[in-house]
């Protein structure tokens, strides 16, 4: 069997590319490691020396202010030097290939690449290229590739769920919305199944479900009232207008009517159910403001935990023995 490309020969995290196939003990270790990092944010000096002298390159081939910012904060709190490159607006426009860009930055003594790319598999390609050329001391973190994966988002969602609900093996979890276009949903679903969630549900219109949804281990619902009944966790997804091709939906208003999360629909879940959303939210499209600002929403804690989880991933990567 081929070696898991994310782990080194000691079984330690070498790159973080996807939550698919990531062993349960590695996921658990990331979540455990993140916990003490949450405390650091409340101190006088919010910095740790772990990545002192290291250079982290944020390689964003696709725009994202929030994700880039949280990675930047995470790296800076670990004392790394952070270099942000918005390649959407630079050298690839002049014709440079992805791997030429990577080689140039590696020649600038990069220690870590945080990669966001519109094409699925781009971070994997970079990781493979670095290893094939003997530069396996450089680590790659996938910050979102196409429709494929967004592992740090998936992991911070797991951290959030564990924080409020403790035991994954007792939970009913619903993933709601545009699963077809969502790399977040894939990363969530793989992590949830690995962590042993016994009742995992996908709620979406037929047009927004991927063809392979059955193989992902989800029970599929096309009706919110049915799908939300008795769940502990509701994971909302953003309706990705910019990725919609053709007419998958009649209108945002109609989508809200059937799949928007309102207080009435949420009342069908357990009384202590929590609501997650990866942001940015489309209020009045996939989620009602009363829910987004309500007491069951844990959307802002997700953002705070996200920094600690990204710190944990970076600290584990930089501390792995090659």
């Amino acid at each position: 069997m081929a070696r898991n490309p994310q782990l080194n020969r000691h079984g330690e995290l070498q790159h973080l590319l996807t939550t698919e196939g990531l062993p349960r003990d590695v996921i658990t270790r990331i979540l455990d490691t993140a916990e003490p990092f949450t405390v650091v944010a409340e101190r006088e000096v919010k910095k740790l020396p772990l990545l002192r002298g290291k250079s982290v390159f944020n390689l964003f081939f696709e725009n994202s202010t929030r994700t880039r910012t949280t990675f930047e904060i995470a790296a800076k709190r670990l004392s790394a030097d952070v270099i942000n490159l918005n390649i959407a607006t630079s050298s690839t426009n002049k014709g440079e290939t992805l791997l030429d860009t990577v080689d140039n930055l590696a020649a600038m003594q990069a220690d870590m690449f945080v990669v966001r790319h519109a094409s699925s598999g781009a971070p994997y390609l970079i990781a493979q290229h670095l290893e094939a050329t003997g530069r396996d001391h450089i680590h790659v973190i996938n910050a979102g590739d196409g429709r494929h994966a967004h592992p740090t988002q998936g992991l911070l969602d797991m951290y959030t769920i564990r924080h409020y609900k403790r035991d994954f093996t007792q939970l009913s979890v619903a993933v709601v919305g545009d699963i077809l276009h969502s790399r977040v949903a894939r990363s969530q679903i793989h992590a949830l199944t690995t962590l042993g969630v016994p009742d995992l549900r996908a709620i979406a219109p037929k047009t927004l479900l991927p063809a392979d949804i059955d193989r992902l281990g989800c029970r599929v619902f096309h009706d919110m009232a049915e799908g939300l009944r008795g769940v502990d966790v509701v994971m909302m997804l953003r309706l990705q207008n910019e990725r919609m091709q053709g007419s998958l939906l009649p209108s945002p208003q109609e989508y809200f009517k059937f799949f928007g999360l309102t207080q009435e629909k949420l009342a069908l879940a357990k009384p202590d159910a929590i609501v997650l959303h990866p942001g940015p939210m489309n209020r009045g499209v996939e989620i009602d403001s009363a829910v987004a600002d309500g007491k069951q929403a844990v959307i802002l804690p997700q953002v705070t935990f996200g920094i600690a989880v990204r710190m944990a991933v970076m600290a584990m990567l930089a501390g792995s023995t090659t």
Binding site: T38, E44, G319
Partner: protein
């Protein structure tokens, strides 16, 4: 070789510290043995301030070589560090590197008035200019030998481990 009784050393250490304790004094235990000791000392000394704890994993100088420890815990200092008299508490003083890491971490919480060091055992082998303020016993151990504190129920004891 026979090791001294940790429960007896604990009383000796408390007696050394007692005359120097003020209203502003707080103990800070270093994971793991130091935290057990700090809790016991806290009760023996009847301190007003709760005891804090530090896990110095994020400040260790061997992180680049050995990575993060598997069971890193949160540090907790349930008081203002600024202007306070702090006593770092550890079970065994050896190379001094843990104390160096602890001092670095402490100053990221604020500027203490004074920091002292209390250890149950000084076993020698220093690699940094660090000396204890309070020390209940000294042991002369060969470089490969290690000694650490164990907790069995409520009872503390010293144990020898391999290198």
């Amino acid at each position: 070789m026979s090791l001294p009784d940790a429960e007896h050393l604990l009383v000796v250490l408390a007696d050394q510290i007692r005359p120097r304790v003020g209203a502003d004094t707080a103990l800070v235990g270093l994971h793991t043995g130091g935290v057990w000791l700090a809790q016991r000392l806290h009760a023996l000394l009847g301190l007003a301030q709760p005891a804090g704890s530090l896990d110095v994993s994020f400040y260790r100088d061997d992180y680049a070589k050995r990575g993060l420890a598997r069971d890193t815990r949160s540090s907790a200092l349930p008081f203002e560090v600024e202007g306070r008299h702090l006593i770092l508490v550890d079970d065994v003083l050896h190379t001094g590197r843990t104390v160096r890491a602890a001092l670095n971490e402490l100053f990221d919480y604020g500027r203490p008035l004074r920091v002292e060091l209390a250890v149950l055992v000084d076993r020698g082998g220093r690699e940094l200019p660090v000396a204890p303020t309070y020390c209940a016993a000294t042991l002369d151990l060969p470089p490969g030998q290690r000694v650490k504190l164990a907790q069995d129920g409520d009872t503390l004891s010293l144990r020898l481990t391999g290198s």
